[in-house]
Symmetry: C2
Subunit: 558 residues, 2 copies
């Protein structure tokens, strides 16, 4: 049995770890008010039973499994039901609802764990020769529906798990470049880099369970992207196994060698081949890394401040502001404070805000990060503080920023907790030009409310801005409601309404979660029908047999 460790088959993260709110006294009242769910009386569902799960029989013949075993060794290929289930879905809300609801339409037939690129090449060649389907699998954290086999797939489906390829192969210290195997998860690679004084600077929410190959395959973005760039910037070279040979893009700072093949592979979600290695930019661990918290009197003032920061000479590493609702949520879900900290948060600050004439229901919390040399970080803060002040905001120091940093990666556990209680909690994110952000926010809220009304539930939605660029930013929405009768149907009503509001307001279908099957229906509205035609031409030409993760991103004709 292979030594690759997986997340829970039915939810996020490691076995035995989960969300709890015993130390967050404001949480239960908040949930009651937001979605009408009383955590104190609600019954919590237990862990689903694997024994009850209906899993289809593997279509892989013994001969084919033997062929794969000859490549990777018998212990690294499996048709075991548990492994097949683990490789059926990612961790989207739809995935979790289906796995909890015993709805597995189509599992992979066989899971294979190659040790190196040569084995990946052999698997790919064998698979294509046998007209099998290959779905690359990294950490399994995907929330776009990129991992599930097509429900009508009649061919053998291989889940190709990169979990054994997790080394930082080499660091070019002069160029700030690191060659990393595609299956390395965030903590794997960051630890190997940190040991030599480097950081990748890429910290998506999924960091603890996602891989560098997965980041590239879905165009990921991390919370310090303002400084380090999105993965599309960070990825300078890569290797991808294709039928009969490996595509090699040597690391380059920039090039004008035609349409960017690198950018065709970024975001390709397994449709062009299997990424085995990525060369990324790495940076010396900075001398200073501070995250400061600020408050703004309202959303519009905060957005305008973020815009002005992006246009200024200041270069913070993080610019993030929560709207009034998310600010309320953040304050409610904080751990209980004591002593001076409690006095400051609950007495001094509100009094100060009231004296400024702020409406406490409108206030927005913001986190801004500064990295680099001590003098540089200090200067960035000074430049930024002046802009914050101009827009009526005020700094409240580093304490809450540190808190933000620490709890960052725990959020996905909350979703499982809510599902245990019969409620949906999920996210949709987008990006748009600065001039459209206020409208995107307004229209998404209206669309979500309309969806809740249609279902007949009390729903919740909140948002923050993060990832600032010269011409715009990402808006990240979190929504929640208690299921009424039909979890998937009701979820779709809300999720679809939000996605439609994105494309109707000049915003994209996703800033950093990819397309998969979840966002595919809006692709033509995002990049125009001719844009889809060009992308389809690429997929059809590069994978004429539809062997590589077919039906993802574009479902047409499959």
């Amino acid at each position: 049995m292979t030594a690759v460790k997986h997340m829970k088959w039915w939810g996020w993260g490691n076995e035995g770890v989960g969300f709890h709110h015993e130390d967050k006294p404001g949480f239960a009242p908040f949930v009651l008010q937001a979605v009408g769910l009383d955590l104190l009386t609600a019954t919590r569902a237990g862990e689903p039973s694997f024994a009850d799960l209906k899993v289809g029989k593997s279509k892989a013949t013994a001969a084919f499994v033997k062929q794969l075993a000859a490549i990777v060794g018998a212990e690294h290929v499996s048709t075991d039901d548990m492994l097949r289930v683990i490789h059926t879905y990612g961790k989207s809300l739809r995935d979790l609802v289906r796995i909890r609801g015993n709805q597995i339409q189509r599992s992979p037939d066989v899971v294979v764990y190659p040790a190196d690129e040569a084995q990946v090449q052999a698997i790919v060649d064998a698979a294509v020769a046998a007209d099998a389907v290959i779905i690359p699998f990294g950490g399994g954290s995907n929330i776009g529906g990129s991992l599930e086999p097509h429900r009508g797939e009649k061919r053998v489906v291989i889940s190709l798990d990169l979990g054994r390829l997790r080394e930082v192969v080499a660091i070019d210290a002069e160029s700030g470049l690191a060659r990393i195997q595609a299956g390395a998860q965030g903590p794997d690679l960051e630890a190997q880099l940190n040991a030599k004084g480097w950081t990748i600077g890429h910290f998506p929410d999924s960091f603890t369970h996602s891989t560098v190959g997965g980041w590239v395959a879905t165009r990921s973005s991390g919370m310090q992207s303002d400084k380090y760039g999105d993965i599309a910037d960070i990825c300078r070279g890569l290797r991808m196994v294709r039928p009969g040979g490996t595509l090699v893009l040597r690391p380059l700072p920039s090039t004008s060698s035609g349409p960017s093949v690198r950018e065709m592979i970024l975001g390709s979600e397994g449709r062009l081949g299997v990424i085995t290695e990525v060369t990324v930019q790495v940076h010396r661990v900075p001398e200073k890394r501070n995250i400061y918290a600020y408050f703004f009197p309202n959303w519009a003032a905060g957005i305008e401040a973020m815009r002005e920061i992006s246009e200024s000479d200041a270069t913070p590493s993080i610019t993030r502001i929560s709207d009034a609702r998310e600010t309320g949520f953040t304050l409610a879900t904080s751990k209980e404070r004591h002593g001076f900290s409690k006095f400051t948060a609950e007495t001094v600050l509100p009094a100060l805000m009231k004296r400024k004439g702020w409406n406490l229901d409108d206030i927005c919390i913001s986190f801004i990060g500064y990295e680099g040399g001590t003098a540089h970080a200090k200067r960035q803060k000074k430049l930024t503080d002046a802009i914050v002040k101009k827009h009526g905001g005020m700094g409240v120091g580093e304490g809450p920023g540190i808190l933000y940093d620490q709890k960052k990666f725990d959020t996905p556990y909350l979703r499982d907790f809510l599902l245990d209680m019969g409620a949906a909690g999920d996210v949709s994110e987008t990006a748009a030009p600065w001039s459209r952000l206020i409208d995107v926010h307004k229209n998404v809220y209206a669309a979500a409310q309309k969806a809740y009304d249609e279902i007949g539930v009390k729903g919740w939605i909140m948002s923050h801005l993060s990832h600032s660029y010269h011409s715009g930013a990402c808006l990240y929405f979190t929504f929640a409601f208690v299921f009424k009768n039909d979890p998937l149907g009701e979820y779709n009503i809300v999720k679809n309404a939000i996605q439609q509001a994105f494309v109707d307001t000049d915003a994209t279908i996703s800033h950093h979660h990819g397309v998969g099957r979840e966002h595919s229906p809006w692709l033509a509205e995002d990049i125009s029908p001719e844009g889809v035609a060009v992308m389809q031409a690429l997929f059809d030409g590069a994978d004429p047999g539809s062997n590589f993760n077919p039906g993802k991103i574009i479902d047409a004709g499959y």
Copy 2:
């Protein structure tokens, strides 16, 4: 007759403008020493005679011309020989040698000047229906061989000139985005932007005669790319006419909507359709914009300083350093100095350098630019100066920097002057990781020398580094020699040797000139055969009839 103005049919730039060296006393001795050409005794060829030029008969039928005239108006379609010749080539050295040598293999059959996107759509649809070939034409400044019709092309070839689409359509001031028609040349669009306080910050050497559509089609980069990015960063959205419909990419700061169609169009050199509009990032004209000059004791010290600047907290707008040979050229081709300036340049500086123990044959001149608010520009300079000093360099003030800025766009005229004298002068540029730059430089010099030896001429080569990135930079080579017997054959020997040295030393075939036909032979060595296969799949699928600029970037199978 259409009102679109073109460059000289036989050379660079405007009629009546050319390079002269009367005010540069060091130029003639320099040329004599470098390539053995005595400008004082050499005979200068006159302007070639158009009447002598052999131009093939247009294959366009009267009916087809009439059909195009019905779309754009009779005065905007032409089969005139002069216009067909102007649209046959770009301005590469091979183009200039061939046009001077009366070697026109295949001219476009008809030149058409649409007024707007609807007319472009009608032309494209008519062309594809008639199985004609469409070659989009911007300013005609291309030096990659991207504009010439394939010599064996049997179908009617249309040169689709975007010269009438040159407006800045709209500016979104809040987002820093400007919609610009594809045919707008640098000075057109910059003037329109400047009038409203904006700049695009994109200043390639070809600026005065190239278009925003051309920049996108070839992945251009301008001299301030360290601050403003390459055109791939600057271009946020675009419109491209394809058969039956227009591909529309709305401006977005970032997106994860699958493989980037925007990045497929960037660098596509007309192979996917006709770009009609580009939405670019624009910036407020900065308060300060300074270019300072520095000297380094040698090339290695200068490169290391540039690398350290790129890794530091400093964010200059330009980082450029010439090697010792290019430094010699720069000093030799300066205008004659007088008075105090002469005394400083010719007496004080050399004395100072000698006192530092520098070998005057090794010194390298560097230009570093600072932009932004006054305090910001000052601080960038301070951070940079410290790094320069650490690597033994010294600043010599702003004067030479201003000079650099002013003469920047005049360089291409020098090439025509040398051709008049029977000599080649041309450029090849690349990009590589920092750790490979010294080797790239060394290997290119060795390869060029070997090529000169093979031909049996005294050749010249010089280089500078520009466009710094986190992980590497661009190296730009300029080479010259006097033709012996066979200009094109001898040029190819040198050019090919340089390009081969690039790919053999982990460098790319071009940083910002594109591929066209000139660099196509090395594409597989640059992006691997599988990379070419994926790109070919895109071209084949998106243009099954090979109607769009066929044979460019990848020539295979055409």
